[in-house]
């Protein structure tokens, strides 16, 4: 009896931690998705989230209000994201190099700002900052086991899933979303039919900035209650892998993020079993590499299959191959 209880507690806390650990990755992966849809491959998610996390802590500490902190994080996220747009779209710098540059500014610049603001280079734990509230879901909170997994999460965890739905509506149902996607597919064609390509790319980056802002705010105002040096710890890059694993579709992306959440949660549990802590820290990255490898092999086989099918068809019809079929 006792064992059953313990295992159910472990199971519910495991389920709870999956959602908690995937929140930031979901935000970042959606951000990566929307920027890719707009044809701007933003790899600066890491740096943007770092700036947002710091902004959230500082603004909430100075205004004594967590919601202003969230707002500050989002505004900073959008600004940095647009800065990347300025470099990549207006100055026509290589998007990868600009992204790397912004990540570096994020990594060291936040330390610089933190030092100027509170005189500490390691973390803001001395600063009295605020966290966003946890929410008990109205109906679900009364169901015994499910409530312990789904209810009482940080408000941003729920917002991550709401954001996924809203993003779906925006991208696939609204006209602007269609324009944005067509810019990503083929900017020249989109330009010829009168879509403002540059505007759409900036719009994509702005949405990316909002999402990253919320992801960063979650890290410093929900996951923890302080900002510390390099606290995003590669989540921005894991998110890029997640969105490409989800084939840049919203459902697939969210599911891959949950997969990484599971990997994270498993490594947390293994910690209690005396497994070497450094190998546990390496686990999420190794898992991600394995996942994208499996996914790429799958995609490669599918492509090879399609090509083979096509050429077989062509041979059967005995039609002269056009350049389009190659």
């Amino acid at each position: 009896m006792n064992e059953v209880m313990i295992s159910s507690i472990v199971l519910t806390s495991f389920g709870y931690s999956i959602l908690r650990l995937s929140t930031a990755i979901i935000f970042a992966a959606l951000a990566s998705l929307v920027s890719k849809k707009a044809g701007v491959n933003n790899i600066a998610l890491e740096g943007i989230m770092l700036f947002s996390a710091l902004a959230g802590v500082l603004v909430s500490a100075y205004t004594k209000n967590a919601w202003f902190g969230l707002l500050g994080a989002i505004v900073v996220g959008v600004l940095i994201s647009l800065l990347l747009g300025l470099c990549a779209i207006h100055l026509r710098a290589n998007i990868f190099l600009s992204g790397i540059a912004i990540n570096t500014i994020g990594s060291f610049g936040t330390v610089f700002i933190m030092f100027l603001a509170i005189g500490d280079k390691a973390s803001t734990s001395t600063l009295q900052s605020f966290t966003l509230p946890r929410v008990a879901l109205p109906l679900i909170k009364d169901i015994p086991v499910v409530s312990e997994i789904l209810s009482n999460h940080n408000v941003l965890t729920y917002l991550a899933f709401v954001a996924a739905v809203l993003l779906y509506i925006f991208l696939y149902i609204t006209k602007t979303g269609l324009h944005l996607r067509s810019v990503g597919e083929n900017p020249v064609a989109a330009g010829t039919v009168g879509i403002n390509v540059v505007k759409m790319q900036y719009l994509g980056l702005a949405i990316c900035g909002i999402l990253c802002g919320m992801g960063g705010a979650f890290m410093s105002m929900g996951y923890t209650s302080w900002f510390s040096r390099d606290m995003i710890a590669g989540r921005g890059f894991i998110a890029i892998a997640a969105s490409s694993m989800g084939q840049n579709k919203i459902l697939g992306t969210v599911l891959s993020c949950l997969l990484f959440g599971i990997a994270d949660a498993v490594s947390n549990i293994m910690q209690t079993f005396d497994f070497p802590s450094d190998l546990i820290l390496a686990m999420p990255y190794v898992t991600t590499i394995v996942c994208i490898t499996v996914y790429s092999v799958f995609l490669k086989n599918k492509k090879a299959y399609r090509v083979a099918e096509k050429s077989a068809k062509r041979r059967n019809v005995l039609k002269k191959p056009t350049s389009r079929n190659v």
Partner: protein
């Protein structure tokens, strides 16, 4: 002035302007945050050459930049955009440290053995993203990035289980054997024979890139892979060579860093040479001969900022802003492009006119 020489000159001008502009931004930040800006400026600009000790630390900061920059140049030449240099450097440093802590029978080959093992360890790390790309078609950018984190934690795991010092206060290896260290060139500094190794690497890569068949093949592959394949270049072989060679150089860089600067391995975070290597390689634009000069320039800034961070109230992290702005402006095709375009049009008109005669 011909169009080609104009473009060349214009690129030099643009790089110079990018550097000046980013310095201006940094000076502005210093003026804004510092209470003693003049003192800070002095330390920033004159600090690295104000004493022999500091010149030593300038050289110390230059060497890893040369190795990392060279590794990036080699790896990017074939158009294979990986960030693995960081991991290669780190892993190379670790295995060189492992060798350095062991007894070695003929003491004279001890440093050579450590260097070689470091180089091969670096090449081993470079194998992973390359193999994933070649065999499974995994994007090398993402895989190499994630690999760096995995390498970091895996190495610390190895460190704790192989050569951990029991007496040290923080996580660190046992001390290196004296026989493993590189010979000091100038006493009381950390300038060692590593300088010669760096120069030898630069010369080797320069000859390889500019004078050999491999160099031509690598360049062609980088510019247009499909074209290279269709004229009979074995592109996958070229890419493999470039990645292994780059990893090897990065690994040797890590080893040199260990054997000339440190007395025990105590990295617990990535030292960040991978990114700096990318900056060096973007600034030199695939010309290995310029790598040492650029590395000295960046190391000068870095050392100056460090000294400023110690002596004044400006944190040395500001240097990352400087580096990043330089990178963005150097690779920004649109930066000043309006003037370039205007001038090119003018040139074209003049040349067109001379054709008519």
């Amino acid at each position: 002035m011909g169009i080609r020489s104009f473009i060349k000159k214009f690129n030099i001008l643009r790089t110079a302007l990018a550097i000046v502009l980013s310095f201006a931004i940094v000076l502005l930040i210093i003026v804004l945050v510092s209470k003693e800006p003049l003192e800070a400026f002095k330390n920033f600009f004159m600090g690295p050459i104000s004493s022999l000790n500091r010149v030593g630390s300038l050289v110390e900061a230059t060497l890893p930049l040369i190795f990392a920059g060279l590794a990036c140049v080699v790896m990017f030449e074939t158009g294979f955009f990986t960030l693995g240099v960081e991991g290669c450097f780190f892993f190379g440093a670790y295995w060189a440290a492992v060798i350095a802590t062991q007894e070695c029978m003929p003491a004279s080959i001890h440093p050579i053995l450590a260097l070689l093992v470091g180089g091969f360890a670096g090449a081993l790390i470079a194998v992973i993203p390359t193999a994933l790309r070649m065999l499974c078609n995994v994007d090398e950018f993402v895989s190499s990035l994630l690999l760096n984190y995995a390498v970091l934690y895996f190495t610390i795991f190895l460190l704790k289980n192989m050569i951990l010092s029991e007496t040290a206060f923080r996580v660190s290896s046992v001390e290196f054997q004296d026989s493993a260290m590189l010979t000091k060139l100038i006493p009381d500094t950390r300038i060692t024979t590593g300088v010669f190794i760096a120069i030898a690497c630069v010369v080797f890569i320069y000859i390889l890139h500019k004078k050999s068949k491999y160099g031509f093949e690598a360049r062609t592959t980088g510019q247009n892979k499909v074209f290279a394949a269709s004229v009979g270049i074995n592109t996958s072989r070229v890419i493999w060579i470039s990645q292994l060679l780059g990893g090897f150089i990065a690994g040797i860089g890590g080893a040199v860093q260990m054997l000339s600067v440190f007395t025990h391995f105590n990295y617990t975070a990535m030292p960040g040479y991978g990114f700096n290597g990318i900056i060096v390689s973007t600034m030199v634009g695939a010309n290995p001969a310029l790598v040492p000069l650029t590395a000295i320039f960046l190391a000068y800034i870095q050392t100056g900022a460090d000294i400023m961070g110690r002596m004044n109230d400006v944190p040395s992290e500001i240097v990352s802003v400087l580096f990043s702005v330089i990178v963005i402006l150097v690779v920004a095709k649109g930066f000043l492009s309006r003037y370039e375009h205007k001038y090119l049009l003018k040139l074209k008109k003049v040349e067109g006119g001379s054709d008519d005669k």
